[in-house]
């Protein structure tokens, strides 16, 4: 089947089998290998991407379902060679060790900060409860998200002052 989907702001198309899953569309057809496939059974969250504004596990969505939709992957976070404040937060706080879960963690917390710009620690921990990390014990991931939330709201405040 023929699919057209906006990925990280760019319209792309592919011809795939109906049984193709979104994670494999992104990785195999569009070469966006930042989206990781971990468990492939809707458990680990490494494959999380944003689909029309909500984070979802892309191993459990058919490619055909996103036809006409918009996807943001981890490759869409960096702008003009500048890390997104979340990515910088993970860097500064050692929010990863092996890095396998990181793309999913970033996309889930990106969506969290869009919905709740000032999350409590509990809200952060609840938000990432569908993303498994076997290295960090989560503490530094939470710290990274807290740093990003603070930087993003400081940025917003600056923009308001300038406007």
């Amino acid at each position: 089947m023929h699919i057209e989907v906006t990925v990280n702001g760019r319209l792309r198309s592919a011809d795939v089998e109906a049984r193709t899953l979104l994670a494999y569309l992104l990785r195999d057809e569009f070469n966006l290998t930042g989206t990781h496939v971990g468990c492939d059974t809707t458990s680990c969250g490494a494959c999380t991407v944003i689909w029309d504004g909500l984070p979802v596990k892309s191993c459990t969505v058919l490619a055909g379902q996103v036809d006409g939709g918009a996807i943001t992957t981890v490759e869409g976070l960096e702008q003009d060679a500048q890390l997104h404040p979340l990515q910088q937060g993970f860097w500064d706080n050692h929010g990863l060790q092996c890095g396998f879960c990181t793309p999913g963690m970033l996309m889930t917390t990106y969506a969290l900060l869009q919905r709740r710009p000032h999350p409590t620690e509990t809200e952060i921990r609840q938000a990432i409860s569908g993303n498994l990390c076997r290295c960090t014990g989560y503490q530094n991931i939470v710290a990274a998200v807290q740093q990003a939330a603070a930087r993003l709201s400081a940025q917003d405040a600056m923009e308001e002052v300038q406007a």
Binding site: A18, R19, P55, T60, L62, G64, S129
Partner: protein, 295 residues
């Protein structure tokens, strides 16, 4: 992993969806949220020849309220309920339950109606909606019919839906009196199947006596169960420690759990007792504190 090959249809109207189901019957599966269906297809536990994706059917979206009920469209996602604090005033059990389902990412896709149609005995919605006395509307070639959730769930992964019927919405009755609710779930880790789940809602009249109560049990039988005898013992009496303990014992007796790697039958039965006691006690405090409808 990937499913067996199948043909994919994405109807854009309800009539078209029902036509496709009538045509393909047992060879077709309806794709709503897909959070149970797709994993089952990847594990080859399901291998439909046709997947009918109803996500582009606008009639199945959204929800509306009538004087005496809330009607959830079949595509209502768990997270849409979880995030809507306005529901707490009249329907306090819905958000309680939604927040316990799977994990936040699954909740962004999974649907209330899809969970009911899948009929997993460990599902959170089945116990919740049974406790609330909810019904589903099913559309088939002959038109609509209303099915109480209790009659919908026949056995594990088996519903009373005909092969050419599709759930279009879920009707949740509005409480007549002051209501408070509690959902409890024991799971080994986030996203795992429930070891035991209990969803309950209590309505009280002006004197504080129980005027309606629903107690739904998850993962302790071939379908979700309603603890009818426990409900009966509470009717007409004010909530208090003694009657709560009595009801908890009756609910435990109503449970029909199986021993598996999540626990022995005896253990699960006792968790039912503890959860019903905790849940009713929480509800008693909420009613006393005025954290309830009409307070």
């Amino acid at each position: 992993m990937f499913p067996n090959a199948f043909d994919y249809a994405a109807p854009t109207s309800l009539d078209e969806a029902v036509d496709l189901l009538s045509r393909y019957g047992d060879d077709a599966k309806v794709l709503a949220g897909g959070q149970s269906l797709l994993p089952m297809m990847k594990l080859r536990l399901a291998a439909p020849a046709w997947v009918i994706d109803i996500n582009r059917v606008p009639e199945l979206d959204g929800r509306r309220e009538s004087d005496d009920a809330l009607i959830l469209g079949a595509l209502t996602r768990h997270s849409a309920i979880e995030w809507d604090r306005d529901l707490d005033a009249d329907y306090p059990l819905l958000r309680e339950t939604a927040a316990l389902i799977a994990d936040p990412l699954v909740r962004n896709r999974g649907t209330v109606a899809g969970s009911l149609a899948h009929a997993d005995p460990a599902a959170d919605w089945a116990a919740c909606l049974m406790a609330l006395g909810a019904s589903v509307t099913a559309r088939g070639p002959q038109g609509d019919r209303l099915i109480p959730v209790e009659d919908l769930l026949v056995d594990t992964l088996t519903t009373s839906l005909e092969l050419d019927e599709i759930i279009t919405g879920v009707t949740v009755p509005r409480p007549a009196g002051r209501a408070a609710a509690k959902s409890l779930k024991l799971e080994r880790k986030v996203g795992d199947f429930a070891v035991v789940g209990v969803s309950l809602q209590v309505e009280v009249g002006s004197g504080g006596a129980v005027s309606r109560v629903g107690i739904g049990l998850a993962a302790v039988g071939p379908t979700a169960l309603r603890a009818r005898e426990a409900e009966a013992v509470l009717m007409g009496r004010p909530l208090g420690p003694e009657v709560i303990r009595e009801a908890a014992a009756l609910a435990a007796a109503a449970a029909d759990p199986a021993s598996d790697r999540r626990g022995s039958a005896a253990y699960k039965r006792d968790v039912v007792r503890v959860f019903v006691e905790r849940g009713l006690t929480a509800v008693q405090h909420r009613l006393a504190d005025g954290q309830a409808l009409g307070a």
